[in-house]
């Protein structure tokens, strides 16, 4: 017990003695964990985000002027059967009139006495992210309807956003890998500095008959402390940020972030233990013969 207390206090002293380098290790662990935490949350929400984005997909279809509303309804029911189409919303001539008003600031009925605008239909795409959507094939199928005059779609922009999202995930992953190794490196560097500063102590301990594990223990403890502080800080920040942004995002985008605090903290802690353990063993293995 007293031996353990001794080793622990030695570890804390080591940490404190090199406050500044310890701080940089804590910071790099912190960074690693923030990034991995973000990635965990992102991956938990990926399907929801893609669903959310696809919800905004729409293809606008304009029908020929002579087509009656009944005919339109028939065509729309066929459109609904196309693979990849989730739902459709028909925009009647009255709806179109309102859109015209908002676009041009004019009441078309007043000007020409009747409504020349065509019936149109908004085609919504399936939201489920497990299915990859081939917009082009849907467009081709729509074009095959003789009743359809023009097809407008913003699909390109939105699938580009989806692409950005995936790029972001991939980028974060690569950054995560980089900062992961940087963390290991800075931790082992910090501990190496401590080992340098304690050269005499280490030598004396070995001459006195301390086993290798006794000599190593304070350095391993130092590393674990650094890891612990880093993971505590990053968990706090992440949870704080989540709590804060949850309401914000819900209010502005009506998107509910999904997360599991227990899983998050657990993952961060185990990651930090892995990093600090590898980092400090690397330092002690290389510098304590």
């Amino acid at each position: 017990m007293d031996k353990l207390a001794f080793l622990l206090s030695e570890g804390v002293k080591n940490l404190w003695r090199h406050k500044l380098t310890s701080f940089s290790s804590i910071f790099s662990i912190f960074l690693t964990l923030i990034i991995s935490g973000t990635l965990i949350i992102v991956s938990q929400n990926t399907s929801k985000v893609i669903e959310y984005l696809r919800d905004k997909y729409k293809i606008e279809v304009f029908f020929k002027n002579e087509i009656t509303f009944e005919k339109v309804e028939e065509v729309v029911s066929n459109i609904n059967k196309i693979n990849g189409v989730r739902s459709t919303t028909v925009i009647s001539k009255d709806d179109a009139e309102k859109i015209f008003k908002s676009q041009f600031g004019e009441d078309i009925m007043k000007i020409i006495g009747y409504n020349p605008l065509p019936i149109s239909c908004v085609v919504n795409i399936v939201k489920d992210d497990t299915k990859t959507i081939n917009i082009a094939s849907i467009i081709n199928k729509l074009k095959s309807f003789q009743e359809i005059d023009e097809i407008n779609y913003q699909g390109r922009i939105i699938s580009r956003i989806e692409g950005y999202y995936q790029l972001f995930v991939r980028l974060m992953t690569s950054i995560l890998i980089i900062v992961f190794f940087i963390s290991i490196f800075t931790i082992s560097n910090t501990i190496r500095l401590t080992i340098y500063a304690k050269e005499k102590l280490i030598e004396s301990l070995q001459l006195i008959g301390a086993t290798r594990s006794f000599v190593k223990a304070p350095f391993i403890i130092e590393g674990i402390l650094i890891g612990f502080i880093g993971s505590a800080l990053s968990s706090l920040l992440l949870i704080g940020l989540l709590e804060f942004s949850y309401d914000l995002i819900y209010t502005y985008l009506s998107f509910k972030i999904e997360y599991d605090i227990k899983l998050l903290i657990l993952t961060l802690c185990s990651l930090s233990i892995i990093i600090s353990f590898i980092g400090s063993s690397r330092a002690t293995a290389r510098f304590l013969k």
């Binding site: 007293d2 031996k3 005499k200 030598e203 004396s204 070995q206 001459l207 008959g209 301390a210 086993t211």
Partner: protein, 217 residues
């Protein structure tokens, strides 16, 4: 029991010891003498396995230097008290902490450590200087601290390298008497020294080393 069989060690830059053949009983008191640079410190380092022999082997108690593992060296050293020629005191720890270190290593309880450190400091006449850092002690006081640190774990063997170099004749004489007392209680002592006046006529075995070889034993 210490036994050195055909021991040789040569440093890369030259110097060292060669063909050392020697043995010591469990309750012996022996002096190691020889001019400066003759290999006394090297021989002692070989005995406590700070250096491992290039030729021959060292047997100390149950431990044989042949193929010994790091862990066993650590255990062996717990039974050997060493007084280093260059003290090896830690500059950033005070006298108390320096002397307590060997007890932390063997895992004593806090109370026991406080008691034993106090006793051993009193024994070498450093009582009251517990809070001094090594830089705040005189040369002779540092040397006595080193003796106290070697003694505190009540070792089976004491290896002392020039423990009176910075002591005045009176204090040196007291140290020898102290060593003799410990020896009588059954601790083997091997002490390297230049101080012929102190050594001679005390009836102990004298081992002379010159140019890395034992001349007469």
């Amino acid at each position: 029991m210490i036994q050195l069989n055909n021991l040789s060690y040569t440093f890369e830059k030259g110097g060292g010891v060669s063909n050392i053949e020697m043995s010591m009983q469990d309750d012996e008191f022996a002096f190691l003498i020889g001019p400066t640079g003759s290999g006394k410190t090297t021989l002692l380092r070989l005995i406590y396995m700070d250096l491992l022999p290039q030729v021959g082997n060292v047997i100390i108690g149950e431990y044989d230097s042949d193929g010994i593992k790091q862990k066993q060296i650590a255990f062996m050293r717990r039974k050997v008290g060493m007084v280093f020629q260059d003290y090896h005191l830690l500059e950033d720890r005070n006298l108390f902490e320096n002397i307590a270190l060997p007890l932390h290593v063997i895992g004593c309880s806090k109370d026991e450590i406080v008691d034993r450190v106090k006793d051993s400091l009193d024994e070498v006449g450093l009582g009251g200087k517990e809070s001094h850092y090594p830089g705040e002690l005189s040369g002779g006081e540092q040397q006595r601290a080193c003796v106290a640190r070697a003694m505190i774990k009540e070792p089976d063997v004491i290896l002392a390298d020039e423990p009176t170099g910075n002591l005045d004749p009176v204090t040196s004489f007291e140290l020898i008497k102290f060593f003799e007392e410990i020896n009588r209680e059954g601790t083997a002592i091997l002490m390297a020294s230049h101080n012929y006046n102190l050594i001679k006529g005390r009836g102990h075995r004298i081992i002379e080393i010159r140019n890395g070889s034992i001349r007469k034993s």
